[in-house]
Symmetry: C2
Subunit: 192 residues, 2 copies
């Protein structure tokens, strides 16, 4: 499974075999079955986490018990709760597996050492960080600007196929709609 991670890294930049090995040395593989949790709200998150296969979701549950999904992380994406990681405070989000999932975990201290010793890794992570920020801002734009139907189209454009892997009610949560409303939007769209 670690090969998926190293292949990902190689695809992003030229790492030496020694660097790949140094990263492997502090990596830990974790397998999650469908529905299993990776982080519970209230726990402190201390890792960097790369998804080798499967699909994670990160979400919050409000006072009424309704889930609000902030992010999906399919294979070859990163996951985790940076806020808890940075602050050392209990996480406000929960992360669990939508599908059977395999992740690589690296403890934060080890990861920081890697970043210091491997400038290439630092650059890669930095680029990802910046891209994530861009993506987040696009999502903000979608959330405040688009109608329900436009949000659905936008999601399908950005993440082709992902809608097929995610239960409808989770997609609705991600888009900020109720499952019923999403169902009706889909019906509308189908008619055209």
């Amino acid at each position: 499974m670690y090969e998926i991670f190293s292949a990902y890294l190689q695809s992003k930049a030229a790492f030496t075999p020694e660097e790949i090995e140094a990263i492997r040395a502090v990596s830990r593989i974790k397998k999650l079955r469908r529905g299993a949790g990776l982080l519970q709200e209230g726990e402190v998150w201390r890792y960097h986490c790369f998804v080798c296969s499967g699909l994670l979701r990160r979400y919050r549950i409000d006072e009424k018990g309704v889930e609000h999904i902030i992010q999906f992380s399919p294979e070859n994406w990163w996951a985790g709760d940076r806020e808890s990681l940075m602050s050392g405070q209990p996480a406000k989000f929960t992360i669990d597996a939508v599908e059977p999932t395999t992740v690589v975990l690296i403890i934060n201290e080890d990861f920081n050492t890697l970043l210091k010793n491997i400038p290439t890794l630092n650059d890669v992570i930095n680029l990802i960080l910046q891209r994530s920020l861009n993506a987040s801002q696009e999502r903000i734009h979608a959330a405040i600007s688009y109608t329900g139907e436009e949000k659905l189209q936008d999601f399908n454009n950005r993440f082709p196929q992902l809608a097929n892997r995610v239960p409808q009610y989770m997609l609705a949560s991600y888009l900020g709609l109720t499952p019923e409303t999403l169902s009706r939007i889909r019906k509308q769209v189908a008619k055209k």
Copy 2:
């Protein structure tokens, strides 16, 4: 005006006088009057931009001519369009001044040189990047989870006083509401 920027930097980390001077050497001050543009949609953005005083907004205009504000940048914040900066593609956003504003501009190439030569600056910028990402994700959560009234409260908690500096219709745009709806929400809240 440059003193505001250097004071900001000093407040974030210990820079040597030489480093501060190196940063100053590539900095350019720009003053904007109320309503003046810093970036037009379609232009390519090539700077890093720090707001010394005043207030900027970044927004997009949809097909119907409606503005959607993605971000406010008051004094001591950063502004700009990272997406255009990174990709070299025309910006999808417009940035202009809500109040008379003074900014420090550093051309991207110069900024990258600074980052390479001044590790302290690199760390500071990196931290800001990560915080921005956290903040964006909180905003996504607010946008998909909260009612209009909750969005207003959340904004006031996060940015005390800012609501007083921004025209109501811009705040509405930022929150993803119409000005009329925001007006009515405020009326509701005032009654309590």
